[in-house]
Symmetry: C2
Subunit: 200 residues, 2 copies
DNA sequence: TGAGATATTGACCGTACGGTCTAGAACGCT
DNA sequence: AGCGTTCTAGACCGTACGGTCAATATCTCA
């Protein structure tokens, strides 16, 4: 019924996500968003409620694409054992920095920028983080080394890895030297307890 | 020579810092700042150049007070060996969350919020991080366990700890459950290599 | 083909933003 | 006391912000 929408909502949301990702909520003006989304003002307000709703929808889109991609990586048996999957995730973060992509992680950015002042976003970020933590836990369990571990230790290791991952994405965005970031990642992987004994 | 300033610049800066810390750069309006700083518009623009300058000055103030406090903790031999000092720092972060202080760390917030778009702030944040990293390195060296370590491993451990610390402050701000944050901290301290062998 | 429904467009709106400026007040110096 | 200097107060300014709306276009269905 009625005139069909001329633009693809998901594509527009991808573009809005890109703007919010780089500029944050307050830093992204309506004009920025409209230009990136390539739609007119009225269309935007027809399709979404207001700026907050666009942000939330963009975060949701990030969840279903990027975060889900990370979750899939951590659960992908084809990549290898748990450590290999975790390494793949960290190396993807490193690769982004190597190609001068310093946007960091939109979820982490939202955690600092909007979560404290917007309950809906706080809830959304919280659930995304817990899902990622769960995926880390799956990877932790997919390792010969953890067979003898207590459930508690496995959970704690998953949380440790989530925490390290967040740190890496924040450092990346802050402009931390790329080379030094490599050593952060190496140390994180070496110290999470999933490797064999170290040499020195 | 002229009428003396009626307010204390550092006190006003402390208050501005509080606003930026909670709300971020764009989220803090001039009105917010003036109300918190308890000075008139004209006085603010006489004492500082513009909003950017206030932010930078507030970040500087954060550096000289809070960050320096963390650095001092990590170098304070009275607290104990390196691990004890590092634990003290993480427990302070945990204590903040316990008393419902979810502001996180202003330096970390600035890293995400302003560092990517403002070169001066990026440089400032970078130098603060490197100073904190150096302090972590001092603490790492102040441990019997690290005597046999290579210089490289010590540096990497310092970076690992800086990274974990950043993660903790971000998770704290995002609303991550307080109890779960405890286990993140425990795992970070247990896995940084400064403890004796684990039980399981 | 006409009625109803929905989308597009961009002009338009009120407001709150960051920043300036003018009076007047409070000092040091001679 | 008079002068130069600096600070305070807050009215004022232009602008850009997020959001609305009326006119028009494009669809479905009877």
């Amino acid at each position: 019924m009625g005139r069909p929408r001329e633009f693809d909502t998901d594509k527009a949301l991808d573009r809005a996500m890109g703007v919010f990702w780089v500029k944050g909520y307050e830093g992204a003006s309506l004009q920025d968003l409209l230009k990136a989304m390539k739609i007119a003002r009225g269309s935007l307000y027809k399709a979404f409620k207001d700026k907050h709703s666009i942000y939330l929808a963009a975060l949701d889109r990030y969840d279903h694409t990027i975060v889900q991609g990370a979750v899939d990586t951590l659960r992908d048996e084809a990549i290898g054992d748990g450590l290999a999957r975790i390494r793949a995730l960290f190396e993807a973060a490193q690769a982004a920095v190597a190609r001068a992509d310093r946007r960091g992680c939109f979820m982490c950015n939202a955690a600092i920028d909007q979560a404290p002042i917007n309950p809906k976003i706080r809830a959304k970020v919280g659930s995304m983080m817990k899902r990622l933590e769960g995926a880390f836990a799956s990877a932790v369990e997919a390792s010969r080394k953890t067979a003898s571990w207590s459930a508690k230790r496995r959970v704690e290791t998953a949380r440790l890895l989530l925490n390290s991952y967040m740190g890496v994405r924040v450092l990346a965005r802050s402009g931390y030297p790329a080379d030094d970031l490599v050593s952060v990642i190496n140390a994180s992987l070496r110290n999470c307890g999933l490797e064999g004994p170290r040499s020195a």
